[in-house]
């Protein structure tokens, strides 16, 4: 490497960099880390600032507010059924999780531990579902789930404005990732346990339920969390399958959007509502950060 001559300050910096590359490297690391954290947190910070700004100062905002109006959070909850929307979101997400895990466990077990031909193509089929935009399913699903269709003379149920109108599409969207995660975890359980159980006295299915499933608990938790996050944040079917009122099971999507549409100038309330809406997920992320990391990285490994 030829040593070029740089002059002055630049020269000294470059020389320092070349000779102390570890230090430069470490500096770069910390700069990078801090930058990412700041970029990540800034919009949240902005929401907070906006939320606690009193009404009359909304139009002269700086980066740091002059006054704090913490009462805005109470106002939002009291005057507006935000909590109802959040409750709907949490409930529907939970139901979806239960359905997905129940259905997906059997399949995850089979893909992970049972030897049968055609595993690859079947898994590919699952992947293909997640590659179609939700809209590609929308119209027939909407038809099917709102009673617009007749099968053999009987109309399909009208699930518009019911929780099931959302649970079914969410299940469909979440099953592929559920199965991928569960397959990974099931395949990591040691071999031969089912054989041992069957010889000891369980039936084939008994071995699955009594011995293997208890061992797959970490995988189930991970999948449950990923599905929950996915459903809670979902926009599309949440929007379409209900008319927006909380009695009709509208979820958080509507809770927030209605502010935009009905209370257009109440920006601080919008911000407060958004922050409140984030709380359940933030709590979940804080508590379950390891599982989330494990779940998403399992997706990368499953290739």
């Amino acid at each position: 490497m030829s040593e070029q001559q740089y002059s002055g300050l630049t020269g000294r910096i470059v020389k320092y960099a070349i000779h102390n590359s570890t230090d430069v490297y470490r500096l770069g690391f910390w700069v990078g880390l801090v930058s990412f954290i700041m970029i990540t947190l800034f919009p949240f910070y902005w929401l907070l600032v906006l939320a606690v700004t009193p009404d009359n100062q909304l139009y002269q905002m700086g980066i740091v507010p002059d006054n704090f109006n913490v009462g805005v959070f109470l106002t939002v909850v009291q005057e507006y059924p935000l909590h109802h929307y959040i409750f709907n979101s949490i409930l529907i997400a939970t139901i979806t999780v239960i359905v997905c895990i129940t259905l997906g466990s059997l399949a995850g077990y089979a893909f992970g531990r049972v030897d049968f031909p055609g595993k690859g193509p079947l898994l590919l089929l699952l992947l293909v579902i997640s590659y179609f935009p939700g809209i590609a399913f929308l119209i027939p699903l909407f038809e099917l789930l709102t009673g617009s269709l007749s099968i053999l003379g009987t109309p399909t149920p009208d699930l518009y404005n019911t929780p099931w109108g959302m649970v079914f599409p969410f299940t469909m969207l979440s099953l592929p990732i559920t199965i991928f995660i569960l397959t990974t975890f099931y395949s990591q359980i040691p071999d031969g346990l089912e054989d041992a159980a069957r010889v000891e006295g369980t039936t084939r299915l008994g071995a699955l339920f009594r011995v293997i499933m208890p061992l797959s608990a970490p995988g189930v938790v991970t999948a449950a969390i990923i599905v929950f996050i996915g459903v809670y944040r979902e926009f599309f079917f949440s929007f379409i399958m209900t008319d927006g009122s909380p009695e009709n099971w509208a979820v958080l999507v509507y809770g927030i959007l209605n502010f935009q549409q009905q209370h257009t100038q109440m920006y601080n309330m919008m911000a407060a509502a958004s922050l409140i809406g984030i709380i359940p997920i933030a709590v979940l992320v804080i508590l379950a950060q390891e599982h989330i990391v494990r779940g998403l990285t399992a997706g990368g490994l499953k290739e």
């Binding site: 690391f29 990412f36 139009y59 049968f116 809209i135 929308l138 984030i278 992320v285 997706g299 490994l301």
Partner: protein, 317 residues
């Protein structure tokens, strides 16, 4: 009574015991594929069927008669642009064309987002005190509801509200009301997408980095390679498959962008493909909407093909 039930059921259980492993496997996956058959595969087929019909704006059911690929032809040729809320593809109004806008958003987002995600993956992979907290914080943008993701940036760019709008306008980067301008809003949507996707792709890449044999780095260090060389010659090649997978998921997701648009600038300002489908659907033009939906899927498919081909080439070289 219990005995009767047991007696009736036991031949079934016995059969299960005796099944060869193949059949047992199929039995176990059958429920899932049945459910998906109804909720996923059937709708896809039916959407395609709809796309071959005509819109029926007057009848009870919005689907009319069979017209073959006419819907597709009309959309692709631009004839349909008149009835659509925004044109599908119109070179003269690029920022109003759903296809162009979506491709633009996806392209820029994936490019920048992947690089930043790679950076974050490397940083988060190192062991340092407080890594847990860093990871927790960094996951948040991805995990919060889409509507709130949009809302945040809606509030960030409200001219009457945000102290950033004016300086940015003065610098000439944005107009004075960015959320109304198609161009500016497109950029904002790209920003949101990158902001929320970085942790997602970072975590996927982290899996790849973590599975690289540490010995390789030792060998390289002994051989005198610098950190940058180690990154270029060991890390990058080893994580190629994972990067590839991550980018595919990223791309698919960006092509489907809808929620953050609806929650910030609105579909009339930034008409993504999904935006277009939803609005066409709301106009009761189910058939046309179905055709656009399928076209979107086709476009995504083509892009994936390109990825696969390029990956195979890169792999082979």
């Amino acid at each position: 009574m219990r005995q009767k039930v047991q007696q009736a059921v036991s031949p079934v259980f016995l059969k299960i015991e005796q099944l060869d492993e193949d059949k047992y496997g199929y039995l176990l996956v059958a429920p899932v594929f049945l459910v998906l058959g109804v909720l996923a595969f059937y709708p896809l087929v039916r959407t395609f069927y709809f796309s071959l019909q005509d819109d029926d704006l007057t009848g009870v059911h919005p689907i009319g008669e069979f017209v073959g690929i006419e819907n597709y032809v009309q959309i692709l040729s631009g004839d349909a642009n008149a009835i659509l809320t925004s044109p599908f593809f119109d070179l003269q109004a690029p920022f109003s064309s759903a296809l162009i806008v979506t491709l633009l958003i996806t392209g820029v987002s994936v490019a920048i987002g992947t690089i930043l995600g790679l950076g974050m993956a490397i940083i988060l992979n190192k062991e340092f005190k407080g890594r847990r907290y860093a990871r927790t914080i960094v996951i948040l943008p991805w995990s919060i509801p889409i509507v709130i993701q949009g809302m945040m940036f809606f509030l960030l760019f409200q001219p009457s509200l945000s102290p950033f709008v004016e300086p940015l306008a003065n610098l000439g980067i944005f107009s004075s009301n960015p959320l109304i301008s198609s161009q500016d809003s497109t950029i904002i949507i790209i920003l949101i997408d990158i902001w929320r996707k970085i942790p997602f792709i970072a975590l996927i890449i982290m899996a790849g980095i973590a599975s690289i044999d540490q010995n390789l780095y030792d060998v390289a260090e002994v051989a005198g390679a610098t950190k940058w060389q180690q990154f270029r010659l060991i890390t990058l090649p080893q994580i190629k498959p994972v990067l590839f997978i991550g980018m595919i998921f990223y791309t698919i997701s960006s092509m489907k962008i809808y929620g953050i648009v609806e929650a910030s600038a609105g579909c009339s300002t930034v008409p993504t493909l999904t935006c277009l489908v939803v609005q066409t659907f709301r106009q009761q033009r189910w058939a046309t909407a179905s055709a656009i939906a399928f076209l979107t899927a086709v476009v995504i498919g083509v892009i994936i093909m390109v990825y696969v081909v390029r990956f195979r080439e890169a792999d082979a070289s």
